[in-house]
Symmetry: C2
Subunit: 421 residues, 2 copies
């Protein structure tokens, strides 16, 4: 008998009808002889509705109270799923993050899990019950206040519980069939991957693949928890994230897939003195503004003038803030001007195999050239090539790369709407 | 500097606008130099909406999960009020029943408070913050599960906190101006009472006055907590429930008021053997069916046949259940027939002064007679006379008694809609 942790996104429990369907799947898993722990996100848009209420009473709701407010969404959905399971004749017990022993830092809105002490969950399982845990939430070790884990928090809760309980697998039920070689909404013959390594999944997520949050993959990798991403609308097997690249046999596919990201903007700090410490100053300013950056490029085009341009990408939402922060330190940094552009898109090719194949970069650039897509910035990792292109060229870029590396499959991919938290 | 506990009902926080108004009142109290602890019910109909969701997923939701579900309503309203207070520049911290130290029995849906250990509330107050506590909920001492206190739970939470914190007063903000000599919706010149004793308030509540739940008054009386019932829509002083009848001076009003109840039905167990133990059997059957009864009358009309009739009243909702339970034991109890009637209403006259005034009962009956209201059953306590009448006669009965005992006032009473929990 194995222990399975299942996580269901908000769209999977958006209505009473869907909650009943989810309950049937959970009971079926229990009947198959497994111990089952379930993590459920808040129903559909309920979190946004709560946020809207908060905005109506306060322009800047305090983080502690926002967490107290938002965590009720998961309590509601978990209690309802427990009732639906009970109605099917199985025993279920729901627990808050705090009751489940999810101990976090005190940073409201984006707390990090410090420890998981699932004593009550274990006890419930030992008594034959199905345990439900409110996702996305925990309790602060120091203040004993209720905290939330931020975006993708419920996935992280599920993986963290799976690690603490030494579960055999953590199943993430979502509204897609799994991880694809590209977004099926852009590439009609995108193929579903049966397996993918943690490293590749990390690069895919970092490169914009929305199916799993970066943080939850990092957690799964650290504790070596096999994660099975699958659809809550079908019984098809999805994609299993597991193992490291070292385990890959030579026959393994060269390229995993193509990912893209529309949410980034580009900032170029032009004509800064080409001397040590300047880049450091720039990124300290950005860090102090609490902005995460993605790609960073410095080229030598102005070497003659003893100056250089430093370009980086960041979430569009943070663009204006970053520009203001830099302008405020213009003298000190000594740049000439700032060029801001949010009409860009990022396309990435990910594949553990590419390390040993220098030809990949060439094929990559040729494909884009043939598609008439101009490359703005290039940055690479050991198993990823990313380029920034004009946003209007993004779909074309994804399609041409997907075709050039022959990632397509015969069977059409099914696409569902909505996304869970 | 005094410590004030304020409780706001669901209708007082039904919308973002009302929440802001409540926040202003709370901050004003704090600015006046008082320590403030606030208990808020769930927003408007949100509890009913959650119950409806529960019904959609399960015909018989388990109590434990129902409590997990319903308690989220108070978390939401309390967090929102805390945000609104923060937006006004004051410091606020909201706590769940569990965090506030409300320890209860494990009876889900109608847990009783065993102890209140408000350490975190006290700490918040000491740091100058306004403390908000989710009403209607607690945590079970044995199972550590989340519990609810049942109807009127938030009032009880407020009084229990006031007792544990030795508050100077517990203010219950509701949608009426206070306790009236009769329901202003029936009696246009009903007068608001400035003060009322715990005993009188208990009788008023038991007799159908909806303004305060019986249980919360009992709690206040036991711990001698002054309760100030007032409107959340005006700054008028309401009614203060305090002191015992022994403190009443002789000038004190003879009669407090007239209360009525439409929610009861009458069951007559006809021609039972007039011998010891029969009544006991009947009420054991009712008790085993977990039905609360109100008036009980046994008369000797059938003494000649060695038989008697036992009549009692109970909530209409429980009527059919009670009749079924009794029919099932007909042989054993040995009754002839059961007469069930839910076309009845109860009208009561309450007044600590009536103990020493035998004339009251006479005046009472004369008033009803003049109004052409026939009396079905009479039952009395030391400070109350209650009679059962035909439901169509109820308003007339209330009006005639209110007039006969000259309880009217000159100034019109204001009536608002809605009621809190």
């Amino acid at each position: 008998m194995s222990l399975v942790v299942q996580k269901y996104g908000g769209s999977s429990v958006a209505t009473a009808e869907r909650i009943k369907r989810v309950a049937e799947r959970i009971v079926a898993t229990r009947k198959a002889g497994h111990d089952v722990v379930v993590v459920v996100s808040a129903m559909g848009d309920s979190t946004d509705e709560l946020l809207d209420l908060a905005q109506q009473v306060s322009p800047f709701p305090p983080g502690r109270e926002l967490d107290m407010l938002l965590t009720s969404g998961e309590r509601i959905s978990n209690a309802l799923v427990a009732m639906a399971i009970d109605a099917l004749g199985a025993e279920a017990r729901s627990f808050t993050g705090s009751q489940a022993g999810v101990i976090t830092t005190a940073v409201h809105g984006k707390a990090r899990i410090i420890d998981v002490t699932p004593g009550r969950i274990r006890a419930a399982l030992d008594e034959g019950a199905i345990a439900l845990v409110a996702g996305f939430q925990g309790v602060s070790q120091d203040t004993k206040d209720i905290t939330t884990l931020g975006r993708g928090g419920s996935d992280t809760t599920a993986v963290a519980l799976a690690a603490a309980l030494k579960a055999d697998v953590c199943e993430i039920y979502t509204d897609v069939d799994g991880v694809f070689t590209a977004d099926p909404r852009i590439v009609s013959d995108a193929a579903k991957l049966d397996t993918i390594t943690y490293e590749e999944m990390l690069e895919m997520a970092a490169a914009g693949a929305k199916v799993l949050m970066l943080r939850c993959v990092e957690y799964a990798r650290r504790y070596n928890v096999p994660v099975h991403v699958r659809s809550s609308y079908s019984d098809l097997l999805g994609t299993t994230v597991t193992g490291s690249m070292e385990d890959l046999s030579v026959e393994q596919a060269l390229i995993t897939g193509v990912a893209h990201e529309r949410g980034e903007a580009k900032v170029t700090v032009a004509a800064v003195p080409d001397q040590p410490g300047v880049a450091a100053k720039i990124f300290r300013v950005i860090a102090d503004a609490e902005i995460d950056i993605d790609m960073v490029v410095q080229n030598i085009s102005r070497a003659a003038e003893g100056r250089t341009d430093i370009t980086f990408t960041l979430p569009k939402a943070d663009g204006p803030k970053a520009v203001r922060a830099l302008e405020a330190r213009r003298e000190e940094i000594g740049f000439d001007s700032i060029v801001y552009n949010d009409q860009v898109g990022k396309v990435s090719l990910i594949g553990a195999g590419m390390r040993s194949h220098p030809g990949v970069t060439a094929t990559f650039c040729e494909a884009l050239a043939e598609a008439g897509v101009n490359i703005d910035i290039i940055s690479t990792s050991e198993i990823r090539i990313s380029v920034l292109v004009r946003d209007v060229d993004l779909d074309k870029a994804v399609q041409s790369l997907h075709a050039a590396f022959e990632l397509g499959s015969e069977d059409e991919a099914i696409v569902y709407g909505g996304t869970g938290r």
